[in-house]
Subunit: 315 residues, 2 copies
Amino acid sequence: MTGNNNIVVVGSVALDCIETPFGRRSSSLGGSAVYFSWASSLFAPVSLVGVVGKDFPKEYISDMDKRGIDTASLKVAEGRTFRWEGKYEYDLNVAHTLKTELNVFQDFKPKLTAVQKNAEYLFLANIDPELQLKVVNEMNSPRVIALDTMNFWIENKREELMETLKKVNYLLVNDAEARQLGESSNLTTACNKIFRMGPRIIVVKQGEYGVTVFFSERKKIEIFTAPSVPLESVADPTGAGDSFAGAFMGYLASRGRVENSVLRQAVILGSVVASYTVEGFSIDMLKKITIEDVEERFKYLKKISHFESIKDGLK
Amino acid sequence: MTGNNNIVVVGSVALDCIETPFGRRSSSLGGSAVYFSWASSLFAPVSLVGVVGKDFPKEYISDMDKRGIDTASLKVAEGRTFRWEGKYEYDLNVAHTLKTELNVFQDFKPKLTAVQKNAEYLFLANIDPELQLKVVNEMNSPRVIALDTMNFWIENKREELMETLKKVNYLLVNDAEARQLGESSNLTTACNKIFRMGPRIIVVKQGEYGVTVFFSERKKIEIFTAPSVPLESVADPTGAGDSFAGAFMGYLASRGRVENSVLRQAVILGSVVASYTVEGFSIDMLKKITIEDVEERFKYLKKISHFESIKDGLK
C-alpha cells in the first residue's frame, strides 16, 4: 500500500471517574484517543493505537469495532487500565484532577501495523513528547502530522517537545498552553514564536470563546477566528478538545485536500462536534449524533457569526 | 425640536495616570464619556454630559469642540477633576486600580439641555444607577437607551440598578459582569435572566475573545458572535469598552435603523474602533484614525471570520 486516507491516532484510553455539578459517572469510557476516534469516525476511517488493562470492558472495544474504528493496535496488557478521576466546579472551564493512576499506560510503547505506517493523517494526542516522536519516526510519509500537548510537557520536557515539534505540521493547543509554549502573554506574538519551532498551522482552542487558527503561508501569517456553539447546558467538558481534533482531522481526511477553505470548515466542524460531546457524559453524545445533527449546527454557527459588508461605505 | 439623530452620553470625564508594560502617561485625557464621544463622533453627532474641575486643560475641551462633540453640558465646577490611577501587568486583561479621586465627580448632577432631552440615542456610561435613572427620566422619548455598569454597582446598588434596567433597551457589559448580574456561570442562562430585567439586547464584551450579543425578539433569543481584531501590540487597554459603545451607538444613529443586520455591523464596528483605541494611550488613536482605517479593519474582520457552507453535504 502506498497511501490511503486513513487517520491514525495515538493516545490514551481510559476509565474516567468524573464529577460535575450535573452528575457523576464512574469507570466510564474516556481518554484522548477514544474521544478522537469517535469524533473522527463521523467523517473518515480511523485507527487507534493505545493500551488498556485486563479490566477494560469488552463491550467498549466491540462498540468501537461496530463503529468501524480499527482497534487492531489497541493492546490489552496485563494490569489495570489508565484511570483518571476529575471534578468540575460550576465554572466548567477548569478540570480539577483528583487522582491519576497510569497503570498499563506507564509502559505504553505504541506499535503500528504496516497499514498504519502508511496512513496519511496522524494525530498525536497529548502524551509524552518522546513517545510522540517515536511514532512519527515509525511513519512512512504522512501528509499531515498534528500534535496536542499540555502544560506538564511544556514545563518538564520542553527539549523533547521541541524535537518532536520540528516534525509536526499542525499544533492543536489550548489558549493558555499556546501562550506558555510561545512564552508571551500576547497570543499573536506567542504563535509567531511557535511557527519557528516547526508547525505551520496552530489551532488555539479557547473553550466557549471559540477557536483562533494561525496559518503560516509563504512567510505571511493568516488568521481564522471561529465561534463556539453557545450552549445552555454543559454536562461534562471532558473530551471537548479531543473531539474537536477528531472532527477536524476526520473532515480533512474525508476531503483529501487541506486548502484554506477546507481547513476553515474543518475548524467549524471541530467546534460543532465538541459542542455535542460536552452536552453529555463520556462518549454518550458522540454515539448518538448523526451527520445531519452536525450539519445543522454547522449552519447555526454560520448564521450566528454572519454579518453583511457595508455596501454603501461609511461616509 | 421633535426628534433628531443626536446621541447623548452621560459619564465620566477624567484625568488618568496609567502605567502599562509599554509606558506611562500622567494626567492624560480619559473617562467613559470621553472615549465614547471620540469614537461615536466618527459616525454621528454626539453631545457629552459630564463635569470637570478647574484644573482640566482647556485644550481638551477645544479639541472636542473642533471634533464636533457638543460640550455645552460639560460643566466646569470648582475643585479638581476626577482622577484615576491604574496599572496593567503583562496580562492586559486586568486593570489594577491604584487610586481613585472622585473630586468634582462626587457631586455630579447631570443636567440636560432641551435639545439633549430630545435626542434619539442615549448612552448611560458606567456611573451610579440612581444618576442613570435620573437622566432617563429627564429624556423625552429616546429610541434607544443603552447602559453600561460594573461589578461595584451590581454588588452595592443592585436594587437601584434593577429599577434603571426596567427602562433600558440595550445593556453593554463585560463577560464577568453579565454572569454576575444574571447570577449564573453559564452565559446563556445569565442572559435569559437579564432579559427579564428589562433590556432586549445584551452586548457581552469579551475582550480579545470578541463580543457575543443576545437579542430577544418576539420571545425568541437570537445570538450574534463577533470576533475581535487580533493585535500584536496593545499599548493601553483603557477605554476599549467605551470606544466600542461609542462606535456601536454612533453607527446605529448614522443609519437611523436598528434592524438586526445593522446591529451586527454596529457590533463589528465597535470591535474595530476598540482595537484601534488600545493600540495607543488615551484617545491618541481615536484622534488619528480615519473612516477609511475603520473600513479597512471591518473588511479584515470579515475576512478572518469567513467560512464557506458545505455545498455538497457531509455524507
